[in-house]
Amino acid sequence: MHISEGILTAPVLTCGAVLTTVGTAVGLKKLDYDRIMTVSLLSAAFFVASLIHVPVGPASVHLLLGGLLGLILGWGAFPAIVVALALQTIFFQYGGMIVLGVNALCIAGPAVLCGLLLRPWLTGSRKQQLTAGFLAGFCSMLFSALLMAVALFLSDHGFLKVATIVLASHLPVMLIEGLITMFVVTFLARVQPEILSLNRSSAQ
């Protein structure tokens, strides 16, 4: 789920870097020092999620859980994801320094969008909670894969088929992300609803 260094062209890289800067700036503005500690912990948890491999068919995929982070943090998810991706670059050399803007935009953009749109549903009935969880995981992954495919296609039209393969191979991942996000959301609503900004009485 990372675009490697050296594939995209200058306009795409610039566009990604600018939008990521804007998103990060907005996210940082909305974060005060009282919440920054929890955000950094969640950012670290997001990093750890990418080390969790879940079986799918004969293979296994690693989790991303951007949608979940979006649900929990809203705009704050943007800097959190940027930081987690930067750490992944440092530790595993996934992605890279120059392409970080595009990668962060592809993952954090949909995560924040889904989080903000679906958050109101969390206060609703259990069914709404389940739907919000599933959609947050499924859609953020879907849009991430779509954005990535678009970034590849815009860089060079010859990448069209490669982008399609990338998109198609992410279909099962979307389902898993949806399911896992759904289960985590219901788990959190029961165990510690404050994380989802719910108070205990409304969750029960």
């Binding site: 490697s4 050296g6 995209l8 670290a44 800097p79 050399q93 010859g158 896992i180 165990v191 994380i195």
Partner: protein, 254 residues
């Protein structure tokens, strides 16, 4: 699994200030990323490759990392020659290979590896902590650097927390399979990791506020840029200028 195998050492690269390394790596990587001619990409690969050799990385971890990043280029080699389109073709038995696709795949392989070598030589030779402080002193928002440094600090704790939970699940006979039960178990494991991280965050925050924390980390060593650092920076910038010139002069004339 989470480690920094190249960060310790005593070469020229390890001794330089993180700031000059970040600026140098950014300028070289940028030039290599924007270049679109194969000879310039080869030159870039050679230059960053020699930088990497000078930084004397540990061979085993180096090979592992190179293999990891080339999984994706391998995927491109398997797909691009078949799907890229374009006029020229090469026929090998029943496969039709597009020459443009092969050209593209080799360009990307060279660029990806060139930038990767540069990253390893210049940035992986610093610890994450000094990179974080370096970024802050280069003018990145303080909150962002705080997030980076603190996530890095807590990463290991949270990873251990998760592994502990998973070990407990295994001891109780949990075997991952393709079932809803597996997905639910993983979700609950991760959910519990989140709960623990959240509570740890609150506790750490309270403890730090109690000690008068005001949002700024004060690093124990605050290095000043030495003459060697400036020399290093100038060398790196000259190298990137050289590569820019090369990639511009070798642009295919159309």
């Amino acid at each position: 699994m989470i480690d920094e195998p190249f960060a310790t050492g005593s070469t020229l690269f390890h001794k330089r200030d993180a700031r000059v390394k970040i600026v140098g790596a950014a300028s070289i990587s940028l030039v290599l990323a924007l270049n679109s001619s194969i000879p310039a990409a080869v030159a870039g690969c050679l230059v960053t490759g020699s930088l990497l050799i000078l930084s004397r990385p540990e061979p085993l971890s180096l090979c592992r990392r190179i293999a990891t990043i080339n999984v994706f280029t391998l995927f491109l080699w398997l797909t691009l020659p078949l799907t890229y389109g374009g006029e020229e073709m090469m026929q090998i038995s029943f496969l039709k290979l597009h020459l443009d696709g092969i050209h593209m795949a080799s360009l990307i392989t060279l660029k990806t590896n060139g930038i990767f070598f540069c990253f390893l030589a210049l940035l992986a030779t610093s610890t994450t902590v000094s990179l974080g402080h370096g970024l802050e002193r280069l003018g990145l928002p303080r909150k962002l650097c705080f997030l980076l440094l603190f996530s890095y600090r807590q990463l290991f704790v949270i990873h251990q927390e998760y592994q502990r939970l998973r070990r407990a699940a295994r001891l109780r006979g949990f075997i991952p399979a393709n079932s809803l039960h597996t997905y639910r178990t993983y979700s609950h494991l991760f959910g519990m990791t989140l709960v623990k991280s959240w509570n740890r965050g609150e506790r750490v925050h309270q403890a730090m506020v109690l000690r008068g924390f005001s949002g700024k980390f004060i690093p124990l060593d605050q290095p000043q840029l030495a003459k060697e650092d400036y020399l290093f920076l100038i060398t790196m910038l000259l190298l990137s200028l050289l590569l820019t010139g090369l990639s511009l002069s070798l642009l295919p004339l159309s």
